[in-house]
Amino acid sequence: MGELMRRIRYLLNRRRFDAELENDMEFHREMAARAGRRNFGNTLLLRERAREAWGWTWFDRLSQDLRYAARILARSPGFTAMAVLVLAIGIGVNVSAFSLFNLVALKPLPVRDPDSLVRLERRSPQSYTSEMPYPSFAFYRDHAKTLSAAIAVLGVPPMQIDEDVVPASASFVTPNYFVELATPAAYGRMMDPSRDGTPGAQPGVVLSYAMWQRRFGSDASVIGSTIHLNRKPVTVIGVTPYDFASLGGQGPDLWLPIALQPYLIEGSGVLTDPLNSSVRMWGRLAPGVVAKVAEQELRELTNDLRRQSPKAVWDNEYIQASPGGHMQVMQPEMYRVAAMVAVLTLLILAVACANLGALLLAKAVTRQHEIGIRVAIGAGRGRIFRQLCTESLVLAVLGSLAGLALGCLVLRVALSELNAPKWLSAAPDWRVLLFTMGLTLVAAIFFGLAPALQIARQRQQKTIARQILVAAQVAASCVLMIVAGLLVRASQHALYTDPGFGYEELLSIDPGLGRHGYSPMAAKEYLSQLQTRLSAVGGVKAVSLVKLPPLGHIVSNMSVEVNGRQVEIYPNWIEPGFLKTMSIPLILGRTFYPGERHAVIVSESLARREWPGQDPIGQQYLNGDERDNVVGVAGNARVNAISDDDAVELYWPAQQQDMPDMVVMVRAAGPPDKLPPVAKSISESIDPKLFPEIRQLKLLYRDNVLGVERVAAVVSLIGMVAVLLAGVGIIGLVAFTVSQRTKEIAIRLALGAKRAQVLGTIVRQFSWPVCIGLIAGTGLAGVLSKFLRKALYGVSNLDPLGYGGAIAVLIVVLVVAVLFPARRALRLDVAKSLHCE
């Protein structure tokens, strides 16, 4: 039996061993008394000292402190409930935010060996793309020895099932996808490399569980039946499980073997075109290989690939391997967003802690008496400090438990609202629990340490600490309110202001010519036919072509230094009539001539930055080695950078080789609701192989704004919670001050002071910390909101209305919080309060 075991035995049988010790010492005393000695000292103290040898003194003290803390907290249930509620909100917000981050970025996918999955992406110092050409993928797959498997996923536009009106989303994957993830089939079978790997195999499709429920009425007999995708017969081979965990959190309705791609999308050369970056690549590291080693080998392979097809590889290109076994493969930009959210939620915790700290300090005054007695009967400062810390820790633990419950509840609601994959569960895992424990400790230190120090040193009369805490609360809630205010302004702005082009009557038609292997010539022919026929339709005002339509699937931008400042330029390739179709005004110069080369139209904001104070027309715009003449200046429009007001746009004339990628824009004379079916039938009559994507910009724009509105609503809610917390805290403090100073106030009033003066002295005590808090908070918000700029839909991050509104709300809440309890001082019955002492 080791020493530790013996110690534990002593802990468990403390009563018995203590009795034995007592017996020993009593006997000793009897014997000593016989021998004539009479002084023994304090028997209890002696015994306690002997017991220290067991090594459990700290435990005894702790349980003493805990019992005492529980008694103290139970004696003022109102305060305790308030404190737990405040902490639960502060911690709950953080727990739900962290849980979400955990689910998205930390929790391993419930698939076979998620740790060895890597996401492989092309990067170079200048460029980055999440997709690569299929031939490159095949090259890496065939040659990489550090990868035991390679998976490709090809996303495609929605496909038409039989004669359904609503198209179904689809992904083409290499048939090893489900084998690598070890996904069992809910019904039928998943893909099998030996059966679904070749173009000649019988075409099969795997349905998602949701699709199977929705479209096929949860009928298991659908397995083996034939459906038509884009009018091609395909056999249903299986259904994914209900809680299927896919790579990258993807959830299409249909999973198709990649070998079927040329069959289903006729004329497509995606699988053979070495320049068309279209598939996302995942790999599984060979046993014992780490990602860095794989990157090394892939770098060499990239160089080999460059020798084979030089155009397919960028300068200095390398393949980046990042952990792929999570719902979301995190990019550096995402970490920035996560950090931003973390700052906001931690601010809430700061408000809660400052709030509670001030309450504890106030409460300390009423405990002066109790602490005084304890010090008088021999408690050391250290002991009292420890006792007070234990109390804070008990409060923090209670608050954390409530916060954990609250956080999980919020997450649960969020998951069902966001329609998240079914394998994600809101139940906290060990990471969330660890995080909560850490947060509990931090919170306890934050709100408990300063009051405990002050009380233990018996200096609680000082109000400065309380005032600092008030200022901190006001500052933190100020930041939250301002961020909320800016986001509300952004969503309003997005809703009610014009992105620079009239989107209400616009329709975009993407025939997907490139995907179907159209040559530039054939594409031009098709597009001119389509344009002519569309123009002839009644109610169509204008038709034109653009490469990157607004709210399209691809956004391209370049970061360029203009006169010493970094500017995001969104280039686009257009046909001469585009500006007119979009109702973008031409401010200077002219639009392109048909077939014009080496010409460029810039947006007004770009012209102003590039050539301030000069006439932009006739200037040269440098683009790599080419020099383009500026022929026109267009009004500012955010065709592609819909939410980024700093961005500027640039238009080049579309050339022959761009034709397969062009999208048709149609402007209707009135609401375009009737046009899509007409456009569909026209397109079908020209080429029935194509399934154009026809979208109303009005609807897309609304969806897009809805997202911002939702974020604004959540942040406003959080901001309001913080403000209310601060308000409640200040009400408590002022009420407390008034009750502390009742006698003084009564004497002043008795001596003839005006009630307004008395009110003034009380309010003054809180006015400067509130002012300092407001100023500090506004400054901090000004700095932090820089990171928000791109999400603000053209609202400045220093938008006076957003700041003004937020500060006004905050001031109203604070004034009410100060005046409401201070009123009591005015209604004071002077005679009564003077008599009572």
Binding site: M1, E3, N23, F40, A50, W54, G55
Partner: protein, 113 residues
């Protein structure tokens, strides 16, 4: 009122466990007898106080050098006797040799300096 707890016996620190181990080597004794035996054997030079004896004994119990067992005292009272365990014997041997080395070294210095 704070109490002084420094033993007045003048015993070098750390010597008590060794002495206890040594007196328990021949027979098991109760606490008072241990104190008495040390007092007598040291020709009444060393006095072992309760305030030091019992914490030391508790420490030795936890370390497993001694165990307690019930017996009857010479006055006919039920009392705990402390007995050396095999580990206690080993510890005694170790402490004795350590002590020997220490005194020899001190002697050396005293003789030659």
């Amino acid at each position: 009122m704070p109490m002084t707890n420094t033993p007045k016996s003048g015993m070098p620190p750390g010597a008590l466990p060794m002495l206890i181990l040594r007196v328990l080597h021949s027979s098991s004794l109760h606490g008072y007898a241990i104190a008495q035996r040390i007092h007598v054997l040291s020709s009444e030079v060393l006095a072992v106080e309760e305030g030091l004896l019992y914490p030391t004994l508790q420490k030795m119990l936890v370390k497993g050098w001694v165990t307690g067992e019930w017996g009857t005292s010479e006055t006919g009272r039920k009392v705990r006797f402390y007995r050396l365990t095999p580990e206690g014997r080993k510890q005694l041997k170790a402490e004795l040799s350590g002590y020997d080395r220490m005194t020899q070294a001190i002697q050396e210095v005293l003789r030659t300096a």
